[in-house]
């Protein structure tokens, strides 16, 4: 038997008809096609433009894509766009930075220390579900009319989401790695720096995606309630004046901002999580 060649082995099955085994291992791996997505977007925009150009819908209710772009260009040329965008950006960056920094500190404390966990989770669970924009009037009372209550509202929204993503990330660090480091007498601060922080980073960066959206939503809401400049204010004023092309231009700016932040976080992930 051992001396047989592979061909002998084939022959040994006899003269019965053979047929290939049907491939059944295709699995399920949907892969997004970049071009298909862009084509679909272009087709949707084309259809939208066509509907507007043929006057099938009143442009007051649905301005055309080209009308929105030209409104955006006019806003940029007049300097109004930058005035509103810079005001919103300042609020977002200040509030996000404040909420993220405090969320990371509190999240790590909850993840690492028993007392902080006991107290922290109780407060986070109780306060996280409150819509933060509902607190804005109270914050105006406490902090006065100005930038502070708007920044504080954003910071509060960002803080809770960051706290949760950080302590969830710390919890998700494989315990065998911490035990390994302890077995080599690695001191606690070094374990936090070399094991827990990098281990929690995927969850923290995933949290950044969420908090960037939270900050964007809150800045628009806060500016709609009480501000003289900012994209939220601009969108509200345009709506009140029935300038729907400008309103849509404002929404486009918000969308582009969201895309830019998402791209930035993707780059950050590619750089910091290349080991995955």
């Amino acid at each position: 038997m051992l001396d047989r060649t592979p061909n002998d082995a084939h022959r040994s099955v006899g003269d019965a008809e053979t047929k290939p085994v049907r491939f059944r291992g295709g699995g399920f791996t949907p892969v997004a096609s970049r071009w298909a997505g862009l084509l679909a977007l272009a087709a949707a925009l084309g259809l939208w433009q066509l509907i507007g150009s043929l006057a099938l819908v009143n442009s007051l209710f649905l301005p055309t894509p080209l009308g929105i772009v030209s409104a955006l260009i006019r806003l940029a040329e007049s300097g109004a766009l930058w005035q509103h965008v810079s005001a919103s950006l300042l609020r977002i960056l200040s509030g996000w930075a404040l909420g993220t920094a405090s969320g990371i500190v509190v999240g790590f404390a909850i993840g690492l220390w028993r007392i902080a966990r006991s107290i922290g989770i109780t407060f986070v669970s109780a306060l996280f579900p409150i819509p933060k924009i509902a607190v804005l009037p109270l914050l105006i009372l406490w902090l006065g009319i100005g930038e502070q209550p708007k920044i504080a509202t954003i910071a509060l929204g960002v803080f809770f989401s960051t706290t949760i993503s950080v302590y969830s990330g710390v919890d998700a660090v494989p315990r065998n790695l911490i035990r390994m480091a302890q077995s080599f007498d690695v001191p606690f601060p070094t374990i936090v720096r070399k094991v827990i922080w990098p281990g929690a980073l995927p969850s923290i960066l995933a949290g950044f995606r969420i908090t960037a959206s939270v900050a964007l939503m809150l800045v628009v809401s806060a500016e709609m309630i009480g501000a003289e400049t900012g994209i939220g204010t601009f969108v509200l004023q345009a709506g009140n004046l029935m300038q729907t092309d400008q309103l849509m231009a404002g929404i486009l700016v918000l969308s582009l901002f969201g895309l830019a932040v998402g791209r930035l976080i993707s780059l950050l992930e590619a750089r910091l999580l290349h080991w995955r």
Binding site: N176, L177, R179, M180, A181, Q182, S183, F184, D185, V186, P187, T190, K194, V195, P198, G199, L201, L273, W275, R276
Partner: protein, 257 residues
């Protein structure tokens, strides 16, 4: 430096895991711990390495560590326990970060450990880029870098295929050849125990008690000889006969758990 298990007992809540285990692993000696599943082998190793407080009894060190030793007891883990975000060199350097060594001395120690484990060409690789055998070599290099008196190895080869296991066993024989470093080697695999250990401690089913301590004849190098094979196989069969009935009971217990 000797490592002593002094009447170690341990319970997890209502579960008695170890009962009065005592033995000494002498300097440069390799002691294998075998026994049926769930007999407390890994628990015993964790206690010996200071990762777990025993319910009663204690783990003791006797004598001075070898010259240049920065940590007398280091672990080699079954699941490798490598930092996936760190390169091979950074993983190996982890136990040195808090020591008083200069950066130059640290680099030299890492280079030496990588050389001893055949990892010099992989120093910048990440764990995901390595095979299981190479990952365990990183785990071994990390354990060696502090020049321990005693390696504590918890089923270090059980996650590997048989060919890689054979190759790493040969490496263990080389690493332990000069007798400068001892080891406590927990394993299910009796062949590994017979190939690598000077003495084999056989534990009973839970709660683990010492049933027998077997001395393995011949030096580790000589055990590779054809002439020794039959004798070692007899010893392996003798050990299996000691464990078999309890291993069957333990397996049924696990299935019913």
């Amino acid at each position: 430096m000797d490592l002593i298990a002094e009447t170690i007992s341990h319970r997890f809540d209502a579960l008695d895991v170890l009962d009065g285990v005592s033995f000494t692993a002498g300097a440069g000696e390799v002691v294998a711990i075998v026994g049926p599943s769930g007999c407390g082998k890994s628990t015993l190793l964790a206690i010996l390495g200071g990762l777990l407080q025993p319910s009663t009894g204690q783990a003791l060190l006797r004598g001075a560590p070898p010259a240049g030793s920065l940590n007398p007891l280091t672990f080699v883990f079954q699941d490798f326990a490598l930092l996936p975000w760190a390169s091979v060199a950074d993983n190996v350097a982890l136990p040195l970060l808090h020591t008083s060594l200069s950066a130059q001395q640290r680099a030299a120690a890492v280079d030496d450990a990588l050389r001893r484990t055949g990892l010099v060409d992989f120093r910048m690789a990440y764990p995901k880029q390595l095979s299981g055998g190479m990952r365990q070599r990183v785990g071994i290099a990390r354990a060696l870098v502090v020049r321990p008196a005693m390696l504590l190895m918890d089923e270090p080869l059980s996650a590997l295929d048989s060919q890689t296991r054979e190759l790493l066993m040969e490496d263990f024989v080389d690493l332990l050849a000069d007798g400068a470093m001892g080891a406590v080697y927990v394993t299910h695999n009796l062949e590994e125990a017979v190939r690598l250990a000077d003495r084999i401690v056989v534990l009973s089913r839970r709660p683990g008690r010492i049933r027998k301590v077997v001395t393995v004849p011949a030096t580790r190098r000589a055990r590779g000889d054809q002439a020794m094979r039959a004798q070692l196989l007899d010893l392996q069969n003798e050990l299996w006969a000691l464990i078999r009935t309890e291993a069957i009971d333990a397996e049924r217990e696990v299935q019913h758990a």
